[in-house]
Point group: C2
Amino acid sequence: MALINENFLKLKAGYLFPEIARRVKAFTEANPEGAARLIRCGIGDVTEALPEAVRYAMHEAVDEMGDRGTFKGYGPEQGYDFLRNAIADNDFKARGLEVSADEIFISDGSKCDTGNILDIFGAGNKIAITDPVYPVYVDTNVMIGNTGEADENGAYAGLTYLKCSPENGFVPDIPEEKVDLIYLCYPNNPTGAVATREQLTAWVAYARKHGSILLYDAAYEAFIQDESIPRSIYEIEGARECAIEFRSFSKNGGFTGVRCAFIVIPKTLLGYQKDGTAYPIHPLWSRRHSTKFNGASYIVQKGAEALYSDEGKSQIKALIEHYMGNAALLVEAVKAIGLPVFGGVNAPYVWVGTPNGLTSWQMFDKMLNEANVVITPGSGFGSAGEGYFRISAFNSRANVEEVCRRLAAL
Amino acid sequence: MALINENFLKLKAGYLFPEIARRVKAFTEANPEGAARLIRCGIGDVTEALPEAVRYAMHEAVDEMGDRGTFKGYGPEQGYDFLRNAIADNDFKARGLEVSADEIFISDGSKCDTGNILDIFGAGNKIAITDPVYPVYVDTNVMIGNTGEADENGAYAGLTYLKCSPENGFVPDIPEEKVDLIYLCYPNNPTGAVATREQLTAWVAYARKHGSILLYDAAYEAFIQDESIPRSIYEIEGARECAIEFRSFSKNGGFTGVRCAFIVIPKTLLGYQKDGTAYPIHPLWSRRHSTKFNGASYIVQKGAEALYSDEGKSQIKALIEHYMGNAALLVEAVKAIGLPVFGGVNAPYVWVGTPNGLTSWQMFDKMLNEANVVITPGSGFGSAGEGYFRISAFNSRANVEEVCRRLAAL
């Protein structure tokens, strides 16, 4: 009798974005007119063309596959050296950070990486996540059995929720209790907040004191405008002893449909066996990656490498400027109608307080039905997100300007 | 204190193919002359150019990404309908099999799928694997804690090994004990054996009797030449109630470096909660796939779709004919030197008994040092593989002819 993993039965409703898709589909089927003027600012998905440098490189790679002399079969599971070196040189060494190419593991996406990372950690870890938070962190912990059941607010027994609010600038306070794995995402999805050097220094000190590991999601680092804000956790002294960093080409290079990301595991990072014996994390992930993954597509890796060329860098810069220009317009429009607004300055997300005590999903339905704009309900990111909604700046300029007009008219 | 998953510490040595790579590297560094004439028939990796139809479709898809009007961001996690429909129509409906498009989940590879599938099954399942076997099935069960420690032969406590030998045609006998999850791979890697309709019918009957699930890996179905051999487990009546099928574009379409595969989970397939309550498997995998995966690359999926065009089909046919022509030559060459030979008729692998009581790794070293040919030691696939080695037919014709000459000269 094949037994299922009953932890899956603890999961609440759908994953957030499929639920949004369901409501939008119902709306568009019932309202052809509203459907025609619908603007999607819900899911944080890029909208602009893939950079030319990337397309050029991918065309070349496809052609290489057409000649048996240059054909590429299985590649190294950890990624091709050409890409690992480009990342190490440009994202780390050029910024004075000590991350070597063989500490970088290429994958097909950060969603996979942030979910799969739990494979190498044992049962019995105390897990801390911010609230609100990217739902994947929570759901993957539920699936693997690191939690109990959810309460009526959707909070899972056994997880430590680190509340984020305007009072702490949406960066959680250091907890009094001991936790073992801590998910931090800055620039933050969904709040658009950033963490300062001082705040991250405190987290690194906490993790080192307790032998904890920070799972640092820096998928949005390219959107940071303020030079004083760290773009990598490894800008903090001691982070190589306590942090894994997740990076992605999805949002800087427009790779959400192309699929490429990477993870940094310093060789100096240790975990522990139950008896207290230290054990390095790097070989564990290397083994996991070699056994359950077969490398990202060669063609995709060649595309990602092109992002580090001069053309690629300037094309990324143009994309970031475009999206951050959108964010600035949205922030202004929300301010003008008097709603509390956060983020949108060093991140492509604008985090807004709902008016008149509306719940997040009520606001979602109101925006959908009255403004024909899809936003993301804050409560979908955790109970501390209740009373907020997220507007994504990933869109065309014309659409964003129209969203601003509709917000004014609401 | 971050606890590691100590199950990883039970894993023996390296994963097979990295270990082969290590020995080959040591040899080539020490023997420049041998290195120059080295022929690789070890890892089962395709060598011929990617079909033109695929490259054409991928070029088009890259161009689509360059226009914001046709740009594709996040796709459906389960795969694009264009590909799911092409698979359902061509691989199943056209053969009279009942598999619908929404029972097909597109991924970036069968190695990922066969490893990740364990996420949805609970602890306490009795796992059966054939011996010899593709190492990923074993290692992923070790990692997730479904086994105890390995003994001196590398056999893990708690796993049920189903011995495959010339006596049973390398298709395991139905076990007397009850097992819950059974990995079957036909055409088989590494032995090149196929399972007959009668043999698969017996397995389906066994699984249905015990509420077990067959994890049926059909990655090599395209190589079947004998029309009486089932290409899909769903050719067996009742399989929709007891089997998951894994398929890949790696070996038929030459996608080992492109990365695309799929898995079929019939909606009629049930697993069980501990209390005996039945629960459908399809929504569990759908949830897993939505939460821990973000869809295969759009460009790659467009390439895979092209394999179902008339041009794509005829280009696959030519590739299969090429590799199976190689296999026939290898079988003849091995027969000529009087070694026991299996496979190579409906599969691209030739499975050979070692001469003079050599162990598999001794034969590996002999072939490497004396013939400068890389093969795969049978014992790397399990203890029942001791005394055998695998020759892969994935190579150029010229290389295979040269391997045949070197075998004759050994």
